[in-house]
């Protein structure tokens, strides 16, 4: 190692590692990790995924920003993850601070701590990390010596519950935004830090690159609703917009995916084949906030895969997106890749496939590599009526035809994903899932010619999310969710003919209530997060660590004297004129359009995909100056260098 003004904490950490479970997750040393010289760059980023290493390390968002930043000669990026309670306790006893896994530098020494939130259940882990880093919990208590704490990821579209703990949030695609953010930090440091920390945040807020919560005041009505959210400084925009990368072929990341030594949740070479989705499923926040659809060309996809396989040694390629079979050239991509890697024991998977986009050709290409990964389809709604409400335009016929294709092509197991607690839903809508699953098994036995097939029904509670047509909806309470799921379980068990071939997996309703509270919460919810964290809450996304009672107790304490409570945030339907906590954050979607779509949902009126039908004026394209980009791309995989099948290590005869 070179000498540096910021020393590694590893010598102090190492003696602790022998005393904790899975110490390998704290040592770093991933293939393709980068360690740069501290004093040779202007801006230092610590990137955090606020969950365990095994979940965080495969995260594409963090990997992309890590590469984009490290490619800059004037910046460096290292990664940090949530430490488990066993190591946290030892770190507190021995005074070891939150560290990065790359060079084991203390997080408190960096200029920026960027935290990527895929889910709100990582909020307590954020507090642990900043506290272990020696950074004051509240942004208002920080000074020039502390890093800026910046939130990104889907949850950053409503960062109000963590507004007191973060200095800024960045909405939308991070590739270009992180570079602009870095430019502003660099300029601030080079010009002698005018105005100190506040000056830097002011510059970020005015630039539109980031949302700075402290520069907005929130006023409340006597009944607890928000009266207004307004900038408290001149030049700060009234609404902060999201960032959108328009040409994904110009950003072919990750180029050198990180491969950890420790086992992680996704051991595959992932390539994002397009971003955004306009299917218009009304529950889906990801689909709403990532519009418009932008496809990668098949040539770029093939190059990313080729390069990634060589640099990682992975044996599976995952074609990622919100609905992978919807790529306009998916047939050419799947066939092209299957052709290229034939005979190399490389598998191909589509982690999310729509029922109506799956077909025989695709099934054949996916199974050619010799491996047959599991098939999961998500009808989401159990009844035809529910699927109209949520705009998941999949009919029962579509589903039966699709699973028949799968079972007749050798798959023996199909997983179906549903949601419970959707707006207007009754017990009957959910119990119908049992009949649907029975039909799937009946058809499967018929086409496969064997009784040896299975179908797993997996069902989770619906959580209304900001920036969706369901942002006004009432969430179903935990007890009601559990009761409805019990009825479905009983219906499946009662089916003597097919019940044994149907697996049933469900999650109880309690974690969903907390996620719902955090999803649509406002700044007052931050007090609950701090309280429950002080009471010991950690790793709330993990069943064995999550405590519903602790959250409810903390909510009672933190909201004492307020006209609002957990039910107010979760099971209450919002009226049209209510100021929502995230109204000043702009996903590009027109609020009027969302409201109309909410009315359509209740009237069971479906809305087409604007890729294949005229524009429905959701607002995104004109608002952000963007457009739908779908193929044909005009590119092919022809002319790519061949995949070599002879080894360069053969002995000379």
């Amino acid at each position: 190692m070179f000498m540096s003004s910021v020393e590694s904490v590893y010598p102090r950490l190492e003696p602790l590692l022998a005393q904790v479970s899975k110490p390998v997750q704290y040592i770093g040393g991933e293939l393709n990790a980068v360690v740069k010289e501290w004093d040779a760059v202007d801006v230092h980023w610590a990137l955090m995924y606020p969950d365990a290493y095994e979940v965080g390390v495969p995260n594409q968002g963090v990997q992309i920003l890590y590469e984009v930043l490290n490619e800059r000669p004037d910046a460096l990026a290292e990664r940090t993850y949530a430490v488990w309670p066993d190591l946290e306790a030892l770190m507190r006893t021995h005074g070891v601070p939150q560290f990065t896994v790359d060079a084991h530098r203390p997080v408190g020494a960096f200029d920026v701590l960027g935290v990527s939130f895929s889910t709100e259940l990582g909020y307590t882990n954020l507090l642990t990390a900043i506290d272990l880093a020696g950074i004051p919990l509240r942004a208002a208590d920080r000074d020039e010596t502390h890093p800026l704490v910046v939130a990104g990821g889907h949850a950053a579209f409503n960062p109000e519950p963590i507004a007191d703990f973060i200095d800024a949030a960045v909405l939308g695609d991070g590739e270009e935004a992180v570079l602009r953010f870095t430019d502003i930090v660099k300029e601030h440091k080079r010009s002698g830090a005018p105005g100190g920390r506040d000056g830097l945040l002011y510059a970020l807020a005015r630039s539109g690159v980031a949302y700075v919560p402290s520069m907005y005041d929130v006023g409340y009505l006597p009944d607890g609703r928000i009266a207004h959210v307004t900038p408290n400084r001149p030049g700060v925009p009234a609404r902060v917009g999201k960032h959108t990368v328009m040409d994904l072929d110009e950003w072919p990341y990750p180029k050198a995916p990180l491969v950890p030594l420790a086992e992680s949740v996704h051991e595959r070479m992932s390539v994002e084949i397009f971003r955004g989705c306009t299917r218009g499923c009304r529950f889906c926040q990801a689909g709403m906030i990532t519009r418009p659809v932008r496809e990668r060309s098949q040539r770029t996809i093939a190059e990313i895969v080729d390069n990634g396989l060589r640099r990682t040694g992975h044996e599976e390629v995952g074609l990622l997106s919100l609905s992978s079979a919807d790529h306009s050239e998916i047939a050419e991509i799947a066939k092209g890749l299957a052709d290229r890697y034939e005979g190399t024991e490389t598998g191909l998977s589509l982690p999310s496939t729509r029922v109506d986009a799956f077909n025989i050709d695709l099934a054949n290409e996916l199974s050619r590599g010799g491996r047959r990964s599991g098939l999961t389809f998500a009808p989401e709604g159990g009844s035809e009526r529910m699927r109209k409400v949520i705009n998941k335009m999949v009919t029962e016929e579509d589903l039966i035809r699709t699973v028949a294709t799968a079972y007749s092509h050798g798959w023996r197991q199909v997983k179906l994903y549903f949601m419970c607690g959707l707006p207007t839903e009754t017990d009957d809508d959910v119990v119908q899932i049992a009949a649907l699953a029975a039909q799937v098994i009946a058809k499967g036995r018929e086409v496969a010619g064997t009784k040896d097939i299975r179908c797993t029904v997996s069902i989770g509670g619906f959580i209304p999310k900001p920036h969706t047509p369901f942002q006004w909806a009432a969430q179903l309470g935990a007890d009601e969710t559990d009761a409805r799921l019990a009825k479905l379980r009983d219906a499946i068990r009662a089916d003597r003919q097919y019940g044994k071939a149907i697996g049933f997996r469900y999650h109880d309703g309690k974690p969903g209530v907390v996620e719902g509270l955090l999803s649509r919460g406002d700044r007052r919810v931050g007090r609950i997060i701090e309280q429950v964290w002080r009471d010991g809450a950690r790793f709330d996304g993990w069943r064995e660590h999550f405590s519903y009672d602790a959250w409810m107790q903390a909510a009672r304490t933190a909201l004492a004297g307020e006209p609002v409570d957990v039910a107010w945030y979760t099971t209450r339907e919002r009226p049209r004129d209510e100021v929502l906590p995230w109204d000043h954050l702009d996903s590009g979607l027109d609020k009027e359009w969302l409201w109309d779509d909410w009315l359509d949902a209740q009237a069971e009126v479906e809305l087409d995909d604007c890729r294949w039908s005229p524009c429905f004026a959701c607002g995104v394209c004109p608002q952000l100056g963007t457009e739908i980009q779908v193929g044909p791309s005009g590119t092919t995989m022809l002319g790519m260098p061949e995949v070599r099948r002879d080894s360069p290590l053969v002995a000379q005869q």
Partner: protein
């Protein structure tokens, strides 16, 4: 109707390669499973034409022997690969070493010419560093341990808590005369404060007796306080050197790959 494994051309094994690799520095915290995955990916990156098993879920044909426990550094781990072409062992060594992360270092590759490598791994030579431990107390504990005919210890295994003798398998346990803080390749124990170093030779028996079992035994026979910063390095594994007079095994091992090497002499390694 039974499931048919997909048809694919079967590539037969034409050569077996034996590897010795080291697990150094912070990589000592990686587990055996971590290494398995890392090696499989390295084989792909290094374009080693490894043979695959048949069936639904083809796996590369790799056998692992006597992996050291997680947390133990090692200079002597062994693996055997089946490959579908006759390869140049030294080029395989260099390519795999480059494809594995630093700290998992491939030291030696030979083409197998003999059966049963695992059978030749009769014993392990370890170095156990006890930073801050009192040398007098360690010496007394060693003496008490060696004097005992049997020392039963307990360890949690996959099959629950097991009780077994940790004494009989120990062929040698010795406190090194002078502390040697600069020893190369050992787990990176902090230098500076005194550090008791034990040399340990353990015969491979079932259940396997590990260095932490011996430390547990020292704790048991003499209430030795073992520091949590104890670090262990395996220096060698191999056949025990027979005593020239009566043929009984002595406390040193030889290179287990020597019989596979062309006309190579048998040199003792791992003796202190």
């Amino acid at each position: 109707m039974s499931r048919q494994a997909p048809e694919r051309p079967h590539q037969p094994t034409v050569q077996r390669l034996r590897l010795r690799y080291a697990r150094r520095g912070r990589l000592r915290f990686s587990s055996h499973r971590d290494f398995q995955r890392a090696l499989e990916r390295a084989l792909r990156r290094a374009e080693v034409p490894v043979a695959f098993s048949q069936g639904f879920n083809p796996r590369p044909r790799v056998s692992y022997a006597n992996a050291a426990a997680t947390g133990v550094a090692s200079e002597a781990e062994y693996v055997e690969l089946s490959v579908t072409a006759v390869l140049d062992p030294e080029r395989v060594r260099a390519a795999l070493d480059a494809a594995l992360p630093p700290g998992l270092d491939v030291l030696d590759v030979v083409a197998a010419r003999t059966p049963d490598l695992v059978g030749r791994l009769e014993a392990s030579v370890y170095e156990v560093r006890l930073p801050g431990a009192d040398a007098g107390a360690v010496a007394a504990a060693v003496e008490a341990f060696l004097a005992a005919p049997e020392v039963e210890v307990e360890r949690l295994t996959k099959n629950g808590m097991r009780r077994f003798d940790a004494r009989a398998a120990v062929l040698r346990l010795e406190l090194r005369a002078t502390p040697d803080p600069g020893a190369e390749g050992a787990g990176s124990g902090p230098s500076g404060p005194p550090c008791a170093i034990l040399d340990l030779v353990v015969r491979h028996v079932t259940p396997v007796v590990r260095p932490d079992d011996v430390l547990a035994a020292l704790r048991q026979v003499a209430s030795l306080e073992v520091p949590v910063t104890a670090s262990v390095t395996r220096w060698a594994q191999g056949p025990l050197v027979p005593d020239p007079t009566d043929g009984t095994p002595r406390d040193a091992v030889t290179d287990p790959l020597a019989p596979d090497r062309d006309g190579d002499g048998v040199g003792a390694v791992g003796t202190a």
